[in-house]
Structures are given as structure tokens and as C-alpha cells.
């Protein structure tokens, strides 16, 4: 049974690990390969600050809220382990700020210690009259992706540095994959057109500001998500952001966006003016009205391959990744059932 994962960002690698952990014991013949043209530290996931936080509203999409919860609980369970530091996983508290009262988010009981801000706390943030405080998690992909890669390598999963041009390419030839997992993120449209998938371009400035211990996310309800300044302290750098440009495919840093981010963040936290700028980065969030997580059977002549799509996680990929990986693993399980391949290990005679 050959499985090909296309894409090596947080979605590709975590889905690979989840499936391998769950099914390797049941399917001794399981062979897994990862194909990607970009590996850490050059994936979209690497550029993200790594804060676990879903969007403000799930728009009634309870499925996604559940996946967010499963991810949070899974990561929380790993916090006390020796692996946490290697994974780039740690607790962080912080602020969400608004210019008007808003309903509580879908994730208020998932994060820890969620509460509204007191008037004295709001004095810290002139111009904002309402807000939340909570404790959440950081998962830094420049540590997490190498950690996932190590776990997969230990399990014998093979990696190929290759741009896959079609599903047929990995599935249709003589020793092709039986199952293809499509974790291609923003460029999924190159494998199969998907008008609902659009880039949500973001730009960030990474600075040295080690005195900042809280995340601060501001919101401008009218403009939309990520268009308002945010400050997210990591284990080494602090990420300044606040750019979301729907439909913009450019991965070049923009001087105008730099100015917007810098001025807005310095207004929010005046001490940032003393921060040293270390790096600038642009990336494309794989934006979609909802995550595409479903099976598809591809037929080409005599060949047939099962594809599991797992892409379109927008700006909340890290937040939702493990819930989606487990859902993809369940779809994989149903494929095995159909092929009657999932059998308990036979006693050796």
C-alpha cells in the first residue's frame, strides 16, 4: 500500500505522521512518501508566527471549531513533555482588542482563562474600548516542521524534493501510489482548479523585542481579519503584522506594507521603536470559505487512485492542523476498509 503526500508544510507533515502512527501497525505493507517543492524553512507555515488562535467567528462551521479544539487539546497534552521545546511549543498569554463590543468567539472555552479586559487594562491600548485576555499556545514551525520530519524519517518515510505537476504523476504509473494526500496549500489550484481557493497575502516584520511577553491582536471589524496590527512574541523574535490582501499572489516584500505594519505596531506599543528589525517576509495564506477535507476517486483509463484533499486552511493552519490530520486519517481508514486492507496482525506460524 503506497501513500504519497504532496506538500511539506504543517498540513502535509502532520497528516503524514497522523496516518503513519495510526495505520502502520495495521498495514505492514504501508509505504509512505512525501513530495514537495518547498521544505522547511521555505514553506508558508515557516513564516507564520505560530499562534494558536481561530478566526473570531466560525460562521456556524462547527466541524472546524471541533478540529481547532482537537488541535489545542493535543498540543496542550504535549506541553509537559520533554519534546515541547524541540517542537517549538509553549504557552503564551495575550490580548485581543476591539473598538466596540463583540460576541464571544467560538473558541472561548477551548483556550485557557478566557475573560474580558478590565478598564485598567484597556488604558494600555488607547483607541480600543473592548477586548479579551486568554492563554493560548505557540507552535513555531521552524522547530515543529523539523521535529515532524525527524519523527517521519525515523518511521522510514521517504522525502522527495520535487514539484508534482499532476495527481497522475504520483499515482498512475506502474508503482504508483494507491492513495494521494493533497496538502498543497495555496497552490492546490495547479493540481486541480479550485476557484474558491485564493491567496490571502500577508507580510510580517520580525524584530528583537524580548521585553514583549504577550501577544496583542487588534481587530477592525469593518476591514476584516489580519488587516489590523498584531504583535506576537516568539521564542527568539517578535513578529509584527497586519496585512491581508485577498487575491494578491506576490511573495515580494512591499515597502508600503512595511510602513503600514511598522507605524501601526509602534503606535500600539511605543517601545517597539527601540526594537531591532531582523527580517521581513511575505507569504500567501491558502484562503478558502471552508477547508477542503474530503475524498475523491480519480480515474484514468485502467488506473484508479484515491485522493484525500486537505487544503485551504487560510490563516489558521497551525490552529487547526491536528484536527484535520485526524480527519484525513479517518478518511484513509475508510479507504482501507473498502480495500479490505486493514487487518489485525496475523500470528506467525
Amino acid at each position: 500500500m503506497r501513500v504519497a503526500i504532496i506538500g511539506a508544510g504543517v498540513i502535509g507533515l502532520s497528516t503524514a505522521l497522523c496516518i503513519h502512527e495510526q495505520y502502520h501497525g495495521l498495514v505492514p505493507s504501508l509505504e509512505m512518501e512525501v513530495y514537495a517543492d518547498r521544505y522547511t524553512p521555505h514553506t508558508t507555515s515557516d513564516g507564520a508566527a505560530g499562534l494558536w488562535q481561530p478566526y473570531l467567528s466560525d460562521h456556524g462551521n462547527l466541524q472546524e471549531t471541533l478540529w481547532n479544539k482537537e488541535t489545542f487539546d493535543y498540543l496542550l497534552g504535549h506541553l509537559g513533555s520533554a519534546a515541547a521545546k524541540e517542537m517549538g511549543l509553549f504557552l503564551i498569554s495575550g490580548y485581543n482588542l476591539f473598538t466596540q463590543p463583540v460576541p464571544d468567539p467560538s473558541w472561548k472555552n477551548i483556550a485557557l482563562g478566557f475573560r474580558n479586559l478590565t478598564p485598567k487594562e484597556l488604558e494600555l491600548f488607547p483607541g480600543y474600548s473592548y477586548g479579551w485576555f486568554n492563554t493560548a499556545l505557540m507552535l513555531e514551525c521552524r522547530s515543529y516542521l523539523p521535529w515532524l520530519t525527524n519523527r517521519l524519517t525515523q518511521r522510514g518515510v521517504k522525502f522527495f524534493h520535487k514539484k508534482v505537476e499532476s495527481f497522475q504523476e504520483v499515482s498512475m504509473f506502474a508503482r504508483g501510489a494507491d492513495v494521494v494526500i493533497n496538502c498543497t496549500g495555496v497552490r492546490a489550484g495547479e493540481l486541480q482548479p479550485d476557484p474558491e481557493l485564493q491567496p490571502g497575502r500577508g507580510q510580517v516584520i520580525k524584530v528583537l523585542a524580548p521585553w514583549v511577553k504577550h501577544f496583542i491582536i487588534t481587530h477592525d471589524i469593518k476591514s476584516g481579519i489580519y488587516k489590523s496590527p498584531y504583535v506576537i512574541p516568539g521564542s527568539e523574535f517578535t513578529v509584527l503584522g497586519g496585512i491581508y490582501q485577498h487575491g494578491n499572489w506576490s511573495e515580494e516584500n512591499s515597502a508600503q506594507d512595511h510602513k503600514t505594519i511598522w507605524e501601526n505596531c509602534c503606535r500600539l506599543l511605543p517601545a517597539l521603536q527601540e526594537a531591532k528589525i531582523v527580517q521581513e517576509w511575505s507569504g500567501l495564506r491558502p484562503a478558502r470559505p471552508r477547508v477542503r477535507l474530503e475524498r475523491e476517486t480519480l480515474r484514468h483509463g485502467h488506473f484508479q487512485a484515491e485522493v484525500i484533499h486537505n487544503y485551504g486552511h487560510g490563516g489558521f493552519g497551525i490552529t487547526i492542523h491536528w484536527g484535520c490530520a485526524m480527519a484525513a486519517a479517518r478518511l484513509f481508514g475508510s479507504i482501507l476498509q473498502e480495500k479490505k486492507l486493514a487487518s489485525p496482525p496475523q500470528p506467525r506460524l
Partner: protein, 341 residues
């Protein structure tokens, strides 16, 4: 009196902040800070500088609360300004956890810190040996930055800062009109205060930049305080122990206790060990005294004995000390004008 000459003895957080308050309230004063130790070699430099008050049995609670409120408000304004990183002042959130529910669930300072509330069951799960906890946001003064920032502001107002070991306050009587005693643990020898005693504290300062929240055991012995560049791990409270040498057994014990609160600290790097002697007393000695030898008088303002709570109340006690200095100067001016009659 043209320019009253005031000497402040001591250059820790109490000495420097007291000098600054005097400079602010008495611009005509000629002010000098005298100390044999400066940052990074003061007791203050060892402390984490967390604004979590220590309760003094010998001082009324409403007074302690006022000192804390004033200190908190002062530092809150700095943390909100462009000077925050230079001054080493930053906000920090975290948890104080108790193995057994304390008698006092709401400490006197709970409405001064930000967002104080009791921890939820879900939050307490992270601390399996603890059954009760408080979550809040407070401020931290990192040293040396804070002391260096105070020194910089003092010099900008024309205050003289001199290295000098003062063996006896009386030796200053001919050069200064008023002396302010902020000698901390040094006051034991300087003024022979037998009510002042050291409480030895050993701490580790480690590199663990992924730790963003503070964790404190309510017993006050085990704590994790993330600073700008290092995390302070503590600690000990050894009464009457004057040793400034780090003890290796204690280092291991502190590290183990902190790792059991925060397992990821196992990965901490570059462990530095420091020792400080908390200048402890039943109550802070904050009062006037007039030294008298052969008819010659020297007004003294004492401001020492802050024990484990120096940072938490420093600005409040500095302001009170400055007020007392003002009283001393007024009394001197009064008596000198009467002498002219």
C-alpha cells in the same frame, strides 16, 4: 537655606528611587548619592524585580497597599511609554499556585494588579500538585536596566553620584544638612539596627526564552520569573544566613523544584547562580531621626528594611521618604530663621 545639601546613602532600587523623588520634590536641593556598591553589584540586581508585594507584619496593610498602588501606577506609565525597554519595565502575566487553598483567597493587592481572578479547573490541570491558584498580570523591573535608567535620570537632574563607603552616618554631618539612609542590609552595621536581619536568597538566571508566563508557588519558595533576557528561577529564604557564596546543592534543588512546575525548563541553557541578602524587618523603617552629638544635630530619614518586597513598594516609600526630607528641611529653615531673631 539656599541649597539644602542632601546625601542619600545606598544605590540600590530604594536609594536611587528615593534620590529621584527628592530631586523631583525639592529642585533647589543639592543632592548626592553615596554608595560603595552600584549596579550590577547591589542586592536589587539579584532580585527578579516582580511587583508582587511581600506582607510586612509590622506595617499597617492600608499603608502597604498605598505604597504598592503608587509603585504600580508609576511603573505602569513607564511600561506604556517609549522608554519601557530602556527602563527594563514590562508587563507579565502568570499564575500563583497553592498546594493547599490559602486562608486568604484574595490578597490585599488583588485589585491593584491587572485582571486578577481565580484560576479555572482547566488551568490548574497544568499543576497537578496544586489545587488552588490565582491568575493575574503584573509588572517586572529588570535589573540592571532599571537601576541604570534611574541613574541616568538622576544625572540628568544634576544629582552627584559618588562611590564612597560610609562607615557611620555621623561622618556626613559637616558636609550635608540631611542624610537619607537607604543602605538596605548595610543598615545593620551602619546604624546598628538589630531588628534588621538578612534572609538569604539564591537564584538561578537562565536562558529559556520560550517561557513567557510567570509561575509562583504561594509558599514563596519556588518561582519562575521571565525577564527580558533571562528567566529568574528561585529560590530560598534562609534567615540570618549572611553567606553570599552560591551553594551547589541549593542550585540543584531550585532547578528541580522549578522543573516540576515547568518541565520545559529542563532545556534551559547557560545557568548563572546569584545570591542576595534580603534586608528584612518586621516593618520597613521609614521615619525621621535627629542624630545629636555635642549639640550638633543631623536630621536623618531612614528608608530601609524592605525585605522581600523592595521592588513592589519602592516608589511609594521613596515618595514618603522625600516628604520626610521636606519636613526635615522645613524644620531646619524654621530653626535657622528663629536663630536669626
Amino acid at each position: 537655606m539656599a541649597a539644602p545639601k542632601v546625601a542619600v546613602v545606598g544605590a540600590g532600587v530604594v536609594g536611587l528611587s528615593t534620590a529621584l523623588c527628592i530631586a523631583e520634590t525639592c529642585p533647589s536641593c543639592s543632592l548626592t548619592v553615596l554608595s560603595d556598591q552600584f549596579s550590577p553589584n547591589t542586592t536589587s540586581d539579584v532580585a527578579a524585580g516582580m511587583l508582587i508585594p511581600h506582607t510586612y507584619p509590622g506595617t499597617p496593610i492600608h499603608v502597604q497597599k498605598q505604597w504598592f498602588k503608587e509603585t504600580f501606577a508609576y511603573l505602569f506609565a513607564i511600561s506604556n511609554s517609549a522608554e519601557a525597554s530602556e527602563a527594563g519595565i514590562h508587563l507579565i502575566s502568570g499564575w500563583q499556585v497553592f498546594k493547599n487553598t490559602p486562608k486568604e483567597e484574595l490578597p490585599f493587592w488583588s485589585d491593584v494588579v491587572l485582571g486578577f481572578r481565580l484560576m479555572s479547573g482547566a488551568e490548574l490541570q497544568k499543576f497537578p500538585q496544586h489545587q488552588f491558584g490565582q491568575a493575574f498580570t503584573t509588572l517586572k523591573c529588570d535589573c540592571p536596566p532599571y537601576l541604570l535608567w534611574l541613574e541616568k535620570r538622576l544625572k540628568a537632574t544634576g544629582v552627584q553620584i559618588c562611590t564612597r563607603k560610609v562607615a557611620d552616618l555621623w561622618e556626613l554631618h559637616s558636609e550635608y544638612n540631611v542624610v537619607v539612609n537607604c543602605a538596605g542590609i548595610g543598615a545593620q552595621q551602619l546604624v546598628g539596627d538589630k531588628k534588621l536581619f538578612p534572609v538569604r536568597g539564591q537564584v538561578l538566571k537562565v536562558h529559556a526564552p520560550w517561557v513567557k508566563n510567570f509561575i509562583r508557588d504561594g509558599d514563596g519558595l519556588t518561582y519562575i520569573y521571565p525577564g527580558i533576557h533571562r528567566v529568574t528561577l528561585g529560590g530560598t529564604r534562609e534567615k540570618e544566613n549572611w553567606s553570599l557564596s552560591p551553594d551547589p546543592g541549593t542550585t540543584k534543588d531550585i532547578f528541580d523544584r522549578c522543573c516540576s512546575l515547568e518541565p520545559s525548563l529542563q532545556g534551559a541553557q547557560d545557568i548563572k547562580v546569584k545570591v542576595g541578602l534580603r534586608p528584612s524587618r518586621q516593618g520597613v523603617r521609614l521615619e525621621r531621626e535627629v542624630l545629636n552629638q555635642g549639640g550638633v544635630k543631623l536630621p536623618v530619614v531612614h528608608n530601609y528594611g524592605h525585605g522581600a518586597g523592595g521592588f513592589s513598594v519602592h516608589r511609594g516609600t521613596a515618595k514618603e521618604a522625600a516628604r520626610l526630607v521636606g519636613e526635615c528641611i522645613a524644620a531646619l529653615q524654621d530653626s535657622s530663621s528663629r536663630a536669626k531673631l
